[in-house]
């Protein structure tokens, strides 16, 4: 059907559109509306689902949101409420610890992975592909699998493995002392292979002749790494720190599924707290204020890293 109409159109094309002379078409081409028509869907969607919520959020953060009763202007009350809330300060602290720990851990292990798995052999390609799987794993699945692995019983999956090398059973997510570290572990498991790929792209840009000439000059592997590789990777470090820090501070899904703040609030992060305040307790204004503060933190972080980078270069 479609083929036939397409053919028919091709056959009658010129007679069907007698008015469309090249001049007219050129005029159409010059029309200023065409690019706007192409842009319209993107701009409408971005307006409705990015900028409008942002504006709503900003407004809501100054109001007590009461649904049908109408919103009540409360000035900075929501902000002062939330920053004086011990739960919020604790959550902010956990978010920062989690972001810093996950970022540092992912970069450290990512760099080691990249150095170990750099090369073009088929075996290495296979190992890299396997190591990269956590990155493409749906976060929800990763969280559920790790909940199982972290099972705190002595014969839980991870505890059984630790037992083999003589480490006593750990409570992981079930204990206040180890819960945040355990959440961090999942973040690093997913983050390290991601960072590995970025490092590998950076390593591919290192001048090979430098390795060889430094070897001729008597440098060993460590010197080669320290004085040739690390300087070449400097921009990569900066990019990864920015990306990971922002991603870390606004973490939600992993924490929501692994612990949802438990035990005793020891893993409560900003987003899980905001979610609870806003969507479970209906304190939309206070939740919005928290969101705006979180946004402010990501902006400050981004600008700070950019500024540091510029000074370095």
């Amino acid at each position: 059907m479609t083929v036939r109409t397409a053919e028919a159109r091709r056959a009658n094309g010129p007679t069907e559109e007698p008015g469309r002379t090249p001049e007219r078409r050129r005029k159409w081409r010059r029309s200023p509306y065409v690019p706007w028509l192409f842009l319209a869907p993107a701009l409408i969607l971005i307006f409705y689902f990015k900028y409008l919520p942002m504006a709503y959020g900003l407004r809501m953060s100054f109001y007590e949101v009461r649904g049908y009763l109408g919103d009540l202007y409360v000035g900075g009350q929501n902000y002062s409420d939330i920053v004086t809330d011990d739960k919020f300060t604790a959550a902010a602290w956990h978010s920062v610890v989690l972001a810093v720990g996950t970022t540092a851990g992912s970069m450290f292990f990512g760099l080691i992975l990249a150095l170990l798995l750099e090369g073009s052999s088929r075996t290495l390609w296979f190992v890299r592909t396997a190591a990269f799987l956590p990155v493409v794993t749906t976060i929800a699945v990763a969280a559920e699998v790790w909940r199982i692995l972290y099972h705190p019983a002595a014969d839980g999956p991870l505890n059984s493995i630790l037992g083999l090398i003589g480490i006593s059973p750990q409570p992981f997510l079930a204990d206040e002392q180890s819960s945040l570290l355990s959440v961090m572990g999942v973040g690093i498991w997913r983050g390290a292979p991601y960072d590995m790929m970025i490092f590998l792209a950076g390593l591919a840009g290192v001048d090979r002749s430098l390795y060889e000439s430094s070897a001729v000059d008597g440098a060993n592997t460590w010197h080669r790494f320290r004085h040739v590789t690390v300087p070449a990777l400097r921009p990569v470090f900066a990019i990864l720190i920015t990306l990971a820090a922002i991603r870390g501070i606004r973490v939600f899904t992993e924490v929501f599924l692994l612990t949802n703040g438990a035990p005793n609030g020891s893993t409560e992060v900003l987003m899980t707290l905001i979610y609870k305040l806003g969507l479970q307790q209906g304190k939309l204004g206070i939740a919005a204020a928290g969101s705006i503060l979180l946004f402010g933190a990501t902006v400050v972080l981004t600008v700070a890293v950019r500024a540091l980078r510029r000074r370095e270069v």
Partner: protein, 290 residues
Amino acid sequence: MSAERFDTVLGLAYRRGAVARILVILLYAILVLVFAGPLVALMIGAFSKVVDPTGFSLIPEGGFTLRNFIAAGDRNVYHYLFNSFVVVGFGLLLQMLVSVFAAYALARHKMRLAALIMLIILATMMLPEEVIAIPLSVVLADLPPFDLDLIGTYAGMILPVGAWGFSILVMTEFMKEVPVELEEAARIDGAGELRTFFSVILPLCRPALGVIGVFGFTMIWDQYLLPLIVATDATQYTLPIALRTLRSDEEVGIGVLLAASMLALLPSVIAFLAFQRQFVRGLTSGAVKG
């Protein structure tokens, strides 16, 4: 000393000698086990008779069974999977169309405001979706000026993922590289605006389409907070947000969670393996430019 020894910093793969070889292979095995092991155990576990976390391993006891997938049917897992496919199917289609259209305007037309519009789009990439989640739920409940309520609908999960800065950026950068001569040739041959777009520009952009396709798929498949906000009851759940309701089952214990997790995992892994080159290219280019 051979030259290939300097292809990498450590030159690990080129170490000779039996002991070094064995150590290197052992190291590779440990890495594969750490990163892929849990996922392989999940895939195996989904087909095993494991009922509680202590039985979860690479070699579970009890042999092969399909009972987890049968139990999954009783727990509506296939309905959640269907929801996920609807959202990812229409969402990805919308996202790719929106991206190529916007990119075409930004890359191929001389617009005075192009720089400003690019900035508006790029700024959304700096705006974490978590930050706008709470107000987004309010916007979705009452979309001005139409008073549309998208809470509890597929549209509520699909429309917000329609415009993604990353896709638009990748597409725009790529389209700038397509030679203008080809477009002019098509025009001289009598092709109109849409015709030129679909039969000349788009086919040339196939590599970039691969990148935004596989990234868009992973991004939408991985959505968590958005469907959580939009879904009002369990029948509207996508598979990822349904997982936490499936943690135990009277008959098969964690078996139903393993089966559902495997179904949630498989599409993204297949997408990655099938489009690995595009994936790595998009990852590095996106990170370097972001």
